[in-house]
Symmetry: C2
Subunit: 658 residues, 2 copies
Amino acid sequence: MMLQRPSADSSGPGFTPLVVVELASDTKEEAIAWLLSRIRDQQHNGGAELLVEQLGPGVEGQEKENPNMFVVGASWQRLLSGAEDVGLFKEFSDGSMRGFTCANKHNFKDFKGDGDDFLSMAECQYIIKHELDTLRAKDETHVPGYTQVKLYPGKSIIRRLQSKGILIQFFPLHEKEELKRLSFSWYKKMKLSFQPLDDIRHYYGEGQALYFGFLEYFTIALVPMALIGVPYYLFDWEDYDKYVVFAVFNLIWCTVILELWKRCSASLAYSWGTLSRKKAFEEPRPGFHGVLGFNPVTGREEPLYPNAKRQLRIYLVSLPFVLLCLYLSLYVMMIYFQMEGWALSVYDEEPTFWTGILLFIPSIIYAVVIEIMNLIYRYAAEFLTEWENHRLESSYQNHLVLKVLVFNFFNCFASLFYIAFVMQDMVLLRQSLATLLITSQILNQFMEAFLPYWLQRRRNKKMIHKVRKRRTLEDKELPLAEQVRLEAEMSTYLGTFDDYLELFLLFGYVSLFSCVYPLAAVLVVLNNVTEVYSDAFKMCHVFKRPFSDPAANIGVWQLAFEAMSVIAVVTNFALIGMSPQVKAYFPESETQLILWTVAIEHGLLAFKFILTFLIPDVPKHIQIKLAHLEFESLEALKKKRLVASWLSDHQRGCELQC
Amino acid sequence: MMLQRPSADSSGPGFTPLVVVELASDTKEEAIAWLLSRIRDQQHNGGAELLVEQLGPGVEGQEKENPNMFVVGASWQRLLSGAEDVGLFKEFSDGSMRGFTCANKHNFKDFKGDGDDFLSMAECQYIIKHELDTLRAKDETHVPGYTQVKLYPGKSIIRRLQSKGILIQFFPLHEKEELKRLSFSWYKKMKLSFQPLDDIRHYYGEGQALYFGFLEYFTIALVPMALIGVPYYLFDWEDYDKYVVFAVFNLIWCTVILELWKRCSASLAYSWGTLSRKKAFEEPRPGFHGVLGFNPVTGREEPLYPNAKRQLRIYLVSLPFVLLCLYLSLYVMMIYFQMEGWALSVYDEEPTFWTGILLFIPSIIYAVVIEIMNLIYRYAAEFLTEWENHRLESSYQNHLVLKVLVFNFFNCFASLFYIAFVMQDMVLLRQSLATLLITSQILNQFMEAFLPYWLQRRRNKKMIHKVRKRRTLEDKELPLAEQVRLEAEMSTYLGTFDDYLELFLLFGYVSLFSCVYPLAAVLVVLNNVTEVYSDAFKMCHVFKRPFSDPAANIGVWQLAFEAMSVIAVVTNFALIGMSPQVKAYFPESETQLILWTVAIEHGLLAFKFILTFLIPDVPKHIQIKLAHLEFESLEALKKKRLVASWLSDHQRGCELQC
């Protein structure tokens, strides 16, 4: 990233704008002045030592526009010391990844002086976010001009402003040129190829890149299944009994690919320098509230909320609510089965083409209802988790993920389990699976990519049109002020949650029931390929640029996928035990059959856990590199100690001589 | 520990002897001289900077005695710097546990100058062991006097001498006074009380103390089971159907106590300062051999052994051998059942008192055979694991534990599983369990405590007798030279392996099958109480003092016990499913019964895993303390950086002015 590039646009600031801070349009002047001075103040005075300027007015002038938009940047020295603060890992001259320190900066591989391509723009923006986040109140008791917005020493100013609605948003800016290059190599060229993960990481950070890496890995892992599935589907269509082989394949497949992904993810995270990076201390979430007290860890004054009270809210309100929702979902399922029965009876009475189509209608309606219920539940879950008042963002996320996962799993798969194990109707199972899968894919693609794209396109056109009215633009490029305002109006990307959730459900469809409907894998592969394109497109053109998130793995989702794979083993075994093929081996005694199935299943589950232990999560060569770094730092420490003891001996000698 | 105490014994060295090093009696003079000079040499010359002296001759003079016995000690400064090297954690003035550093020594709680009780004798001995272990060859190519004993720069001298048989042993010395105090408070007073864990840790180190802590915890955890078991046994003796309640209790019990132990162990380890202590880099085992190459982690020259070759040895030799042993064990079991059948037929023909006793004979013989097979297998497993040539002691231990556990589990429990699930004979199961449990307990106590005690007593008496012949001793206290030689001849304590293994098997008997024989818990409690006494006694009077081992938990055994608890859940569920009580609920369909049992069992296993996640392994208040320390060190780092950047700014300013 070139930072000292001359600003072509005369209305822009004297530095490269990295992050935009938007305050409410009615913010009092003294609060703004105070905030700016705190951001600009030197670090040893407790400031953030960043560069900040108010954005000039757009082409429309003062009318309707929010004047309180600020662009934030930083000097090179500041960014480097910030990189040390956030514990950034960079490639060292010997090829290993090490924590960046200013004292050592010349030993890092790509460091060629100041003002070069050493830090990517995403990294710079992450550093600025971190510095803004950790800008703390000193002895202010409240925000100037707002006596009701209380502060206490050590409180993050930005988070308080955010929770009180004074700070509307702060977001990093897109970089038009790089985005164009990225989108070309990512989804604009027509031939099928691997995604440019390093470029994605360079532009969006590690969290995003890991998601796209996982999406790609998952798709590739599905290809053998899809390849086996097609001939299987074509030649065995009416032979429902032959699914045993496929079920066995399924349960090995879902265990192995998750183990391999861990290694794959560790390799990626190592090469991106996030694998051995230590987590910083988490700040309380912006929405967290409580009575002022002393944090036992930091010793600072901050709001505390009794854990017992939170537990009560979780177990007395959230848990019953979730159970109620599960019951509702079950109720809807039962209505679906009634509709199904009704449609079947109509078809049986009068089997025409139209009543044949009618057979599919209940499934389609049910699929749509499932999506709608998931959506509504999602909002309820967010509200409840917010109300549980978790102190840390990570704990909030875990509780939210747990709530949403349980419900979505139940909502999507309950009917399939019911058909498979209570009704034991494999034909209906196949048909339901197909309808559910196809309908939810179509709905998802529409909601996720097309709708936001269409909205954004309208906004873009309006803005360009407005600008055209005043100036004549040859190259269609907007001036900074307009560009910032345009981006500020883009939708906010809410993180990878929904994307992972979708993959999780797809993984469920494939690993649980694909043995009875081998085309499922093919459908999911197709979906994933379009998903790559639509996700890439929406990241580049629909959403605000998100702050990068230095993730080392896919976090709680790894656990969720592994739980699903355990359920898949059990389900597949149950399907195997129910297959006529296997039943034929135990003609006289059903008890024998079940006992054998259960015994083998237990053995296999045990084997799966042993396998999880045996396959190391981090590939050998990376383990060696990490151990080497640790060894070096230990040796350095030992040397330092020896020198220190020698020095103190020496000193003592000198003292004796004097 | 008082170090500067005047040596009352004129024949002893001028310092407190801590560790004894015994070289082979025919060691060449130049090798001895070289070793002593390397031990005495200063640290910046690559020496260990320890004090070492040859032990004077015993009362018997030169005859038969090994003259090459050396006692090693150290100055106070050396011990303190060694404490820093090994990363010892001590209580800080604010009550938290922190890594000791010499620079900070006055801020530690018990530090009152030099030569006080700051370091326990066990800690001093551990430090000296560490310093001796890490005494490395410089440019020597071989040990002087032994051209065939090769050295290379960086090779641990002690380990090479040990593997070549020049160094026979090195061990820490007992401290008579403290031992007397400890043994009094531990097992000599008659009233039942908790063990003095802190004193045990003080004398033997954390590894030992954790074992005794676990033994105590396990015993206390068994008490409720024993209390329920007694009336159950007394009043329901002939009613085999009523074990369902007990089985349910069992499966909850074995899950909960293991989770709670983790927290308990974390509390102990925190208060002893081993919880957050970092593991040092492990040296290769003394017996490890290979072709010289470069270690990719340290970059040093050392023997390397290809991993593929080791894997081949494991999978092509060790694994088939273990399977063969399992088969043999199965074969022996079948012989036992034949004997059992024969005894039963004799009793049926002629039911007298003597043939009634004959009924128990096969079980007793089988129990003895099991113990013998376990013993033989143990040696074979050690030989094989040694032959697999593991580089690290920890990896050696893991492979050994795995081999021994699988065989012992199979050997001890196979017959019980066979009786329970194939023969479905609850009366025989009860009888076998009782016989196995009681016989193995008697054998164990005999082999473990009585035999070594008797041998040691003979040795002691002989030595005192010899000394008496020459001198007249009023207080029976031996002079140092004799004391050292006496201790050198004591058996070597081989670690907690066998003790944990015994507990593991007892845990198995209780958690797997105690529902059909409720007295098992009572028997195990009784056994554990005597075990405390016999173990304590053998630690104090039978074995050489072991080097302390700064363990933070019970390591691989936690895993082993958890695996056993999973097996226990499955077994108990199977027993429940087989009980007539439960069968009565499903009078018409056995299939229904099995399906329900399996479904509930799966749910319970899932719940067990969720519980393992939900209960934090470290109690909250310790988590907070650890987080507080980490926070402080981060803050200190940040401050240091700020000062550094301010200084460099300042310097730049000065340069500009010049």
